[in-house]
């Protein structure tokens, strides 16, 4: 390579409120290269990508595009520079057809639009990509996987120089993944650089020319094709120096009675699986993002349609709606706190008291006094800061918001708590407190399902660990049987070396 690389990152740093997410990353992407990006949760992958696509700006360091220093101040600016991304949540205009979506923003013709030309061009793009889809179908009728493929097709006309694909196979079947890989080959021949983020090692081995492993905000190594082996990747990913989490569940709260028993639960993206959780036990459910563990949480929370049966404390329960799940004694604490668990413009007291309002009310009215008293009690127990129950929830940090979500359900007395990615977007200082709160739930006699893609978190918190990979339960074993490296190997490859 005689010329400057397409994109070069020099000593990129990013600091969030005193915590360094990136500590000086230097990395380059070449034209026509597929560059894998691997790393544990919190290693800095998503921060790096957000800087590259203009969502964050770096605290220090430099980005060079074709040898020229550039400032990527916003997503449209990134777009203008030719840096694009496809996120897991594909964005399409649902009332438009597939064809209109593919060419949105880049329709042929000047002022007038030619419907036929748009759909012909879109059909040509789809044919070239090897996707068999009717361009006149409304985008709103597509399946999630089809949407993702259409989103990829929209990249064709955008003339990107570099495309970030974040867990692109999370929603795709094996056959659809093959289509994706062909698309990536097509991008390569056009000289486009692909940054490929994945937790699935096989994919990285198959399609990446190089792979960079991030660890603790630093590049821990870049491997060439052929060097990407399970052992080497594991070695580079695991941070031996990182202090072990100070919270550790030693399993003393586990009681003999079964709190939740699930038999052959399955959804469209989850093969039938069964398991039991005892009272006072934490079952860690882990695996690649989008590999099915979230689907399990949604099914048990009554959100996703599913088949199979479940019983809580020995009683068979129906979980068709969130209301049924709630009254069956299952509390789901979702990952997206702001959207799915809190009312950002209501006060802390109003949020926390919601599940217990009926017990606080006197003569059909709820006066602010008892509400505040109750909320203050919860906040004190959970060490929420600032300890002011009349403040609106949106003014709290991510960590304190997470405590509030748990606090909201704590006294509701659920038999089973499903906690999804509890420390995502949580400031480092609050993580330990949240762990203690979750373990507190188990000590209180509840069963806890901890759904997390962080292995460190799973190892610290769980009594038993279950791995779901591509919608299939590949392993379940007590924590003492797992080493970190072994757990990482199974989540990456989806192959358990011992019987599940």
């Amino acid at each position: 390579m005689s010329e400057a690389p397409l994109v070069e990152l020099r000593n990129l740093e990013k600091e969030f409120a005193g915590t360094k997410a990136l500590k000086g990353v230097s990395l380059s992407f070449a034209s026509g290269e597929v560059h894998g990006l691997l790393g544990e949760n919190g290693a800095g992958k998503s921060t790096l990508i957000k800087i590259l696509t203009g969502v964050y700006s770096p605290s220090a360091g430099e980005i060079r595009l074709e040898g020229v220093p550039v400032k990527i101040s916003s997503p449209p600016e990134a777009h203008r520079l030719g840096l694009g991304a496809v996120y897991q949540d594909a964005e399409l205009v649902s009332s438009f057809t597939v064809g209109q979506n593919i060419l949105l923003g880049n329709e042929p013709g000047r002022v007038a639009l030619n419907d036929r030309a748009i759909h012909d061009e879109a059909a040509r793009i789809l044919a070239k990509m090897g996707i068999d889809l009717d361009v006149r179908r409304p985008a709103g009728d597509l399946s999630a996987a089809e949407m993702q493929l259409v989103t990829l097709a929209t990249l064709f006309h955008r003339r990107y120089k570099l495309i970030v694909l974040d867990e692109p196979t999370a929603r795709l079947s094996a056959a659809e993944s093959e289509v994706l890989f062909r698309i990536i080959e097509g991008f390569k021949t056009q000289g486009i650089a692909i940054v490929y983020i994945s937790h699935r090692l096989r994919e990285v081995q198959e399609i990446c020319d190089r792979a960079t492993i991030l660890r603790g905000g630093l590049v821990s190594g870049t491997l060439n094709r052929g060097e990407v082996t399970e052992d080497r990747v594991t070695g580079l990913m695991v941070d031996r120096n990182r202090s072990e989490l100070s919270t550790f569940n030693n399993g003393e709260s586990v009681l003999p009675d079964v709190a939740l028993e699930v038999t052959a639960i399955s959804t469209a993206r989850l093969a039938p699986l069964s398991f039991k959780v005892h009272a006072g036990e934490v079952l860690g459910v882990t695996g690649p993002v989008g590999g099915g563990m979230e689907e399990l949480a949604r099914a048990l929370g009554g959100i996703t349609r599913h088949s199979g049966s479940a019983s809580v404390r020995g009683k068979t329960v129906a979980l068709a709606t969130p209301i049924q799940a709630r009254s069956a004694g299952i509390a789901l604490i979702p990952e997206d706190r702001r959207k799915q668990a809190l009312f950002p413009s209501l006060s802390v007291a109003e949020n926390i008291c919601l599940p217990v309002l009926h017990s606080l009310q006197r003569l059909l009215t709820v006066s602010p006094g008892p509400m505040r008293k109750y909320a203050d009690g919860v906040m004190e127990r959970l060490a929420v800061r600032p300890p002011n129950s009349s403040t609106q929830v949106r003014f709290f940090s991510g960590g304190n918001q997470q405590k509030l979500v748990i606090g909201k359900w704590m006294s509701a007395g659920a038999a089973v708590y499903i906690v999804v990615e509890p420390t995502n977007g949580v400031d480092v200082g609050a993580i330990k407190e949240i762990y203690d709160i979750i373990l507190g739930l188990a000590r209180g006699g509840a069963a806890v399902l901890l759904v997390s893609s962080s292995l460190r978190e799973t190892l610290a918190m769980a009594d038993r660990i279950m791995i779901i990979h591509d919608g299939v339960k590949v392993a379940e074993a007590p924590k003492k049987d797992w080493s970190y490296d072994e757990l990482l190997a199974v989540t990456l490859s989806g192959i358990s070396r011992r019987a599940a």
Binding site: P75, P76, H79, R80, E91, L92, V93, S94, S95, F96, Q100, N101, L104, G105, N106, E107, V111, A112, L113, G140, D141, L142, S143, A144, E146, T154, R158, A268
Partner: protein, 324 residues
């Protein structure tokens, strides 16, 4: 995840043509009940009476397409009407029209900029602008109507003239409708406004300047209301300082009724025109058959709810959690 939705041919037919079928049936009913209903001269009457409302409704269509609301359209009609009546003796009719239309566009621009760059909600902004305009109108007119001089024959021709049997304003309406239809279905304007209204995030990531199209929608809305104001002034030979609000509610009814036409589920220009036509046809028909005035509103309200409700039933979402 409703891929490959199976539905019967009857359902498909109903979704696409349901509203039209209801309109045709209502028309047939009136025609049977009154011999004067299905005549060319009555059609002319209905078209003539709906001109102002149709222009305002078509304007509103852009804003609802873009995913917002415009409550200031009624008062924009009044404002443009007063401006043109006030300025005519000073600057002559043509310049007065240009200034009135420009003022309308400024109103739309203010709405659009506040909703986008100002980060305010469309309902709040246009409600505020509505009150402000009302205050200004009453202030400058003192609450009295502003008459147009009978010597302004060219200006009065716009609203009162005839080409053969068809009124000039009906022709103006049809021309503007044709232009709006082309802009909405054959150009980037309609395409991008619809994209922005449906999924602004997708539009944003497609490199579309979202704010620009939202602002344009508000400007188009105000511009069409401005034209309506000029025509209503010409028709009635005067500008009325009050009464513009009435167009607003009619326009919303027409836009939402229109969204069900052809089963689109989204507002569109043709649907809006059909919606306005339906409201005025019912008015005329019930008048001829002898229903009291109040009954007409009851009927129109019920039709609106049933049409939009039936459409929602046919386009069922998995979870419905939007109550605006």
């Amino acid at each position: 995840m409703s891929s490959g939705r199976k539905e019967s041919a009857a359902m498909r037919f109903l979704r696409r043509w349901g509203t039209i079928v209801v309109i045709v049936l209502a028309g047939l009913g009136f025609a049977l009940a009154s011999p004067y209903f299905a005549t060319v001269s009555n059609l002319n009457n209905v078209l003539f009476s709906m001109i102002v409302s149709a222009l305002v409704s078509m304007g509103l269509t852009w804003v609802v397409m873009a995913g917002s609301f415009d409550l200031s359209i009624g008062l924009t009609v009044t404002t443009s009407s007063i401006l043109v009546a006030f300025l005519m003796p000073v600057v002559g009719p043509w310049l007065a029209i240009v200034i009135a239309l420009a003022a309308a566009c400024v109103i739309g621009l203010v709405n659009g900029v506040l909703v986008t760059y100002g980060r305010l909600s469309g309902i709040v902004v246009t409600l505020g602008v509505m009150f402000v305009l009302d205050g200004i109108n009453v202030f400058i007119t003192g609450g009295y109507q502003v008459p147009i001089d009978y010597g302004e024959t060219a200006f009065l021709y716009l609203g009162q003239g005839k080409l053969g049997t068809i009124g000039v304003p009906v022709i103006i309406l049809l021309v503007i409708f044709a232009l709006a239809l082309i802009a909405a279905t054959r150009t980037r304007i309609g395409h991008y406004i619809a994209a922005v209204g449906d999924n602004p995030m997708a539009a944003f990531y497609s490199g579309i300047n979202v704010y620009r199209w939202v602002i344009l929608a508000f400007v188009l809305s105000a511009f069409m209301s401005g034209i309506a104001g000029i025509i209503v002034t010409s028709i009635s030979s005067s500008a009325q300082p009050v009464g513009g609000e009435g167009y607003l509610l009619e326009a919303f009814a027409a836009v939402f009724l229109g969204a069900t036409v052809l089963g689109k589920g989204k507002p569109h220009v043709l649907g809006t025109l059909v919606g306005v036509f339906f409201l005025y046809m019912v008015d005329s028909g019930m008048n001829m058959v002898g229903f009291p005035f109040a009954a007409r509103h009851i009927f129109q309200g019920l039709v609106l709810i049933v049409a939009v409700g039936a459409n929602a039933l046919l386009n069922r979402e998995e979870v419905h959690l939007k109550f605006i």
